[in-house]
Amino acid sequence: MATATISPSEASHGHGHGDTHRAHAPVTPGKVAMWLFLATEVMFFTGLIGSYIVLRAGSPHTAYSNLYKPAMPLAGLENTAGILIKSPGASASHVEAILHSSAGLAEEAAKKAVEEAPHGLVSGLSKSKAESVAAQLTAAGAVVEVEPLKAHKWPAPYDELTNPLAINLTAGNTFVLICSSVTMVLALAAIQQGKKARCSFFLLATVLIGSTFLGVQVYEYYQLSVGHHYPPGISATGHFRPSVSLFASCFFTMTGFHGAHVTGGVILLAIIFIQSFFFGAYSQNHYAPVELAGLYWHFVDLVWIILFTIVYLI
């Protein structure tokens, strides 16, 4: 390790600060390289988020509706309404029979609509017909609501007929990722104080918590694309997959790339943990890999904070 022969007074003049609170960290090539990489990552993610913003702003006013599939032309359908089946009541088969006879649904479709309560949707009826069928269903003991056609530019958060995203689960997941950021910085602080075992412990904690975040994301992807069946306002096929709408495409692209970055981070941190725990590779005088991996990990967390806000909450 090279040490330049600068006297303390020269060094403090060079930095221009007398107080220890604003001490500057040493500028190493590794740190410059990592920050440069993070600047390119900023451009990468702002490319994705910027595209999302303009695509959303330019989305037609009738792109998403509560009754019909995304991007369906709604010309001529202005006077239609749908029936939202919230609960089939005591006799599901009676309800199905009414749907089959009065609403003209095929038996399969009627069965499906009843099964999907509280989001079962029967669409394509005229307003008066919807009301009469709804009255019949209520008389049969079902809890239904007449849904007039509403067109949106973009799926609104918490709107179950156009937006399938699980905001509660993902808000919790956001906190999980923040916790992993905390354990990461505590690992760095530990090795800066020379505490090797503590550093290894917090590195392991970061890897495990980060993997938990990934696990929840995988679970969410599974539920969206395979597990749940969604009303037509969300997807023509009933499953939320990248090809069903522009919203779906954007969602999977942005969160998918972020998930790929998290995966890379978890692998990197696992390697650093192994080096720390099994080989004792880091010390108070040599901890740059921990710091640099930490910078990447915090960046991934920062991007998620912004992504979660923009994709899920707005």
Partner: protein, 150 residues
Amino acid sequence: MAENTSTTATEVALEHAAESHAPYLKVWAALAVFTAIEYFYAFIFKELFIVLLAGLLVWAVIKAGLVGWFFMHLKFEGAWVYILLIPAAVLATILVLALTPDVAFKPETTENAEEEAVWVAPGTAQPFLRSSPAIGACLPRQSADGPSLS
């Protein structure tokens, strides 16, 4: 990866001490609080788009700032970091501004009149700020009893 530092050993030790004793747990508590605030704010204001947008961006920037300042040690880093970050942020802004006229403000033409028309139900409140139609475009179609705009 040996550290090539031009500071003395005492300086390095002081930097370690300052960085490693930053108030990480307090920042964690603040992040938890702001996450909760963001979550409940989004639930309360989900119908009012401008209020929602402004508020959520404020909370998101605060949280991102806390992560960057304390966890990424921007508090302790020299000004050189911003020479890298600011051009990236400028490019990001320019990207959005450059795409906006073509992607966000598509002019309404005879071909896409159906898509771009705003359908308004009679008696509904009109937004105070309405975007003006593009030059040469059809006026928005007002359907007599069309679907309500949300």
